[in-house]
Symmetry: C4
Subunit: 347 residues, 4 copies
Amino acid sequence: MAAKPVDMPPMTYRFLGRSGLQVSSISLGSWLTYGGYIDKERTYACVKAAYDCGVNFFDCAEEYSGGESEIAMGEAIKKYGWKRNDLVISTKIYWGGAFGDNPVNNNGLSRKHIIEGVNASLKRLDLEYVDLVFAHAPDRHTPIEETVRAFNHIINSGKALYWGTSEWDADEIAQAWRYADKLGLIGPVMEQPAYNMLTREKVEQEFAKLYRESGLGLTIFSPLQSGILSGKYKDGIPEGSRYAQKNIEFIKGFWSETNKDTWNGIIDQVNRLQPIADRLGLKMPTFALAWVLKNPNVSSAITGASSVEQVYENCRAVAAVDKLTPEIMAEVDEILKNKPPELTMRW
Amino acid sequence: MAAKPVDMPPMTYRFLGRSGLQVSSISLGSWLTYGGYIDKERTYACVKAAYDCGVNFFDCAEEYSGGESEIAMGEAIKKYGWKRNDLVISTKIYWGGAFGDNPVNNNGLSRKHIIEGVNASLKRLDLEYVDLVFAHAPDRHTPIEETVRAFNHIINSGKALYWGTSEWDADEIAQAWRYADKLGLIGPVMEQPAYNMLTREKVEQEFAKLYRESGLGLTIFSPLQSGILSGKYKDGIPEGSRYAQKNIEFIKGFWSETNKDTWNGIIDQVNRLQPIADRLGLKMPTFALAWVLKNPNVSSAITGASSVEQVYENCRAVAAVDKLTPEIMAEVDEILKNKPPELTMRW
Amino acid sequence: MAAKPVDMPPMTYRFLGRSGLQVSSISLGSWLTYGGYIDKERTYACVKAAYDCGVNFFDCAEEYSGGESEIAMGEAIKKYGWKRNDLVISTKIYWGGAFGDNPVNNNGLSRKHIIEGVNASLKRLDLEYVDLVFAHAPDRHTPIEETVRAFNHIINSGKALYWGTSEWDADEIAQAWRYADKLGLIGPVMEQPAYNMLTREKVEQEFAKLYRESGLGLTIFSPLQSGILSGKYKDGIPEGSRYAQKNIEFIKGFWSETNKDTWNGIIDQVNRLQPIADRLGLKMPTFALAWVLKNPNVSSAITGASSVEQVYENCRAVAAVDKLTPEIMAEVDEILKNKPPELTMRW
Amino acid sequence: MAAKPVDMPPMTYRFLGRSGLQVSSISLGSWLTYGGYIDKERTYACVKAAYDCGVNFFDCAEEYSGGESEIAMGEAIKKYGWKRNDLVISTKIYWGGAFGDNPVNNNGLSRKHIIEGVNASLKRLDLEYVDLVFAHAPDRHTPIEETVRAFNHIINSGKALYWGTSEWDADEIAQAWRYADKLGLIGPVMEQPAYNMLTREKVEQEFAKLYRESGLGLTIFSPLQSGILSGKYKDGIPEGSRYAQKNIEFIKGFWSETNKDTWNGIIDQVNRLQPIADRLGLKMPTFALAWVLKNPNVSSAITGASSVEQVYENCRAVAAVDKLTPEIMAEVDEILKNKPPELTMRW
């Protein structure tokens, strides 16, 4: 395993929204990778490289690789004898279909699946508790009150320390807080949305009032938009890349004829961002990650990595944030033309 | 054991009232059968046949066969290695007289009996928790607040996921919600009443406002009115049938001279329903079960079965629901003349 | 051990105030007797005789005989293999001075002593929970809110089912309910005062409003006023009787010169009650016990017994209650002249 | 080990604010001593000497000597077979940096550190619960609501009996009570500030309204101002004394040139107090301790001791309190000139 570069900048930590918990600005996610197409030895090496760079937040979910991801992450954590108190481990509950013979009651945010799902995740992770438990998606069949109560039951029984949401709408998060407040329970402290240069509306516009009203923290995923912002697709789809994995459902849409212009437009924008990165002396992925961290509402950017080198590269982003001056940010906005309008404060 | 017919329709699932839990439209109850007059081998076979047809809800009670029913059901569940998360298991607490030398405090809905009763049921079922726990009857000696608190204690200690009532009056359910709301506790999510073509008032009239106000779900029992709607009594009382079991207290009333006209009137109605079933190509029990499922407030119809064939027959009802057009429903109402009046919505 | 008399009347049971728990009208207490001056064999025999007569409530306290009483009671319960659900066991927490080298924090109703005291009592009784836990006295140093919270903690942790008070003033009980209501907690369901023909004010006057407002139940002690109402002192103080035990602090007061007239007045009243008992065909203790049970606010009369025969005698009182007609009650009042005035209902 | 002097006055006990818990007026702290520069044999001897003098409160913290202090205290308690109910043991949570490889999340009052910190403290102490758990400092990054909920979680899970604060500002304590009241939770019952003749403002002025409004109790530390009030520095800094330990951060400030006049002024004041102590027949440390106990809002004065003799000396202070007449108190105020102004009661 490649040694940690001597010039690696120190990790920075941010409070998870209005909570007292601190997460590393760059964190390590396990979607599609660990327990999936990355073998265990490489998984252990990536997790260790991240830990060595100061990453303390490792993001898991019951759904990733049908549970194998949690097993691999749990083993990595155990392997190096790290102290539990030095780590922030998450899981996400919603898609537990793989754990039953019948999809009924193994998906969603019913009290039954939340309790059964968390218990099964903790068993796979071989942990007594996770720090964070997320509702992995909104469940519009289950009353939000039932979900709020169930996550509080998990916290009261010592199996999680904080709970939050993933890919919920702003009004759903506000409703969760409504029930929490009414019942004197703990509300969702964090949300996990996709966020990157190309996907900005939810984080910059829709959630704008939640930061102040509910102290919402963000652990964002897809900071490189599935690798598009790494620049690796500028000349087509390289073999082994995410967009070459045609068995993943949502990727297929990109290859339809109707999407061709959209794709080409995006690649064109990314190609025009490259000179800015070059000027700042940053690789494209580092530039894109630093751009995400520039947003003070982002507590942590969850990165995927299939090699130790990629982990190191990602962690360098923390030192690049300051290079993104207001002028640079304006240049980026000019190219992307997707900056949401300012929030109207008074009428 | 007879193999599952190749033309068995797929099971359908419904949310249990305004909760996130889904139960199979047809479920399997154990009253008087498993642990009672059905031996264990046949019990296991029936439970397996139901599971194979997609039944996920198995209904138990501390009282059934003096506890033997829960033991038999628990063994069946264990025997086939099914996953706990694929099952919805219930118990009901009220009549625990068989478990003491003194009936005092072993019956009813005191905090003492609810806690002791649930613990004993879980031991018989050999489970860590039931999904549903019912108050098997109203207890008008115990304050409803005490009962609401006790069931919440059961849920908080992880021994049940949801609680509900059985054969309670509408105003008692509303009172339970009143205490739950006042104290920030969990209210009763479901009620288990008798419901079938011949017994309609409670479900269609008395509970009408609870569906909207409290999101009440129904797991109904006696969908065939103790077999009367199966048509098996059209020419008298066959040996081995429920109404031939003269040691069951409530059945005796049927044989009194004063009840003769009532009985004959009912049999006459059932005989007049037969041609409708014939026309739809349905057996009478399937027709009667489908009629129950036509009511959208019914989450599940609990069926008894003493043979694998009967289980299969019951499960076919889910495919018959759509055959019950408004015209067919009107024909049935015309014969039964027991449709409760519409609820007055505005004065 | 003397066999249970064939003509023993069936035990009666009463709800403990506005709760769903039923206690036998006659119950067995252990103060000064079991674990104290009564040896274990006799203790077991008395407890068994009571159980055989239908007594289900056995009253203990951490303080009785420095803990030995709970050990003896616990052993008796275990010895006969009775079912836990058939029994109502209590303990009382306040005087735990015997369990420490330092009286500080081993007495009173602080959160510390309530939690430590209940844990120690359960260990001595060898039980997982008591049905009833009493605050054995008011503690005017500890805020009532702290005590209410601590007993609710005991109930929430499954170590007791109901809590109540002993020898508290009416306004203290009302304050406890005030905190319970404010915090959504469980209030004190029962109080244990002294009550008998000679001591009436607290039960008949001071608590009068609590029965309706808070549904207070009573488990009364001293129904024979330390034996005075048994008539055994009519010709002086027999050896071996309670009032001959001069090492008990509160008894000493009776022998002071200043108390002589009071004592003689009481004995004179008791002697005048004897003819009424004779006329009804009742022994004096049975008469006095039946008189206590005549009060519908009394849930149970706790009796002491040092012999099996005494247990049987006490249990006979349940059949004598109906003999106490309004005319008899008026005759008693005429002799005692201590009936509290009626409660003024409207001004 | 020196035997307990025959003329040792009996310990006095005080209620911890508006709680039902009693603590010895003089208590034993472990900061910098036990597990630190005092070896285990001497630690055991000091703890035993304190216990023998009636000290029941032993004050610990996760931070003291990097956890070694709790291990030593826990061993001492075990060694002598004392009863848990006779002891009041505390810990304090905030500085757990020594227990991680990464300071992030090991310091402060987040839910994560409070839960992980208390669990680790209990393991070191080898106890199931502490009586008191303190927030060792205010954490202005963590919302006070999160901290209030986390300490209540600790109390509900049976790991502590009461919680409080240390070195918080008055308004922070009031905010904690605001959240506790709003949520029906338990508020902080005690605060641990520094208090002595030379440091009076916080206890006598800033907290003045909290005693009445919130019933705040005080377990004060530094009653001798790190030994200055013992008089030992009157002729300079003796070797082995606290102010000779130059590796302790806050002590360094005293040796700066700018602090010279302040230091000399203080030593001068202490030298002028000596004659008063002499007149009362008290040693200076006893005099200073008694002065602290004269304040009725002080529940306990936490003393450090590195020898058995020092323990005995400290415990003598309880008998000296009455010697501090109003005239003596006025004389002290005249020398110190630091008495905070009276609280304005009405405008």
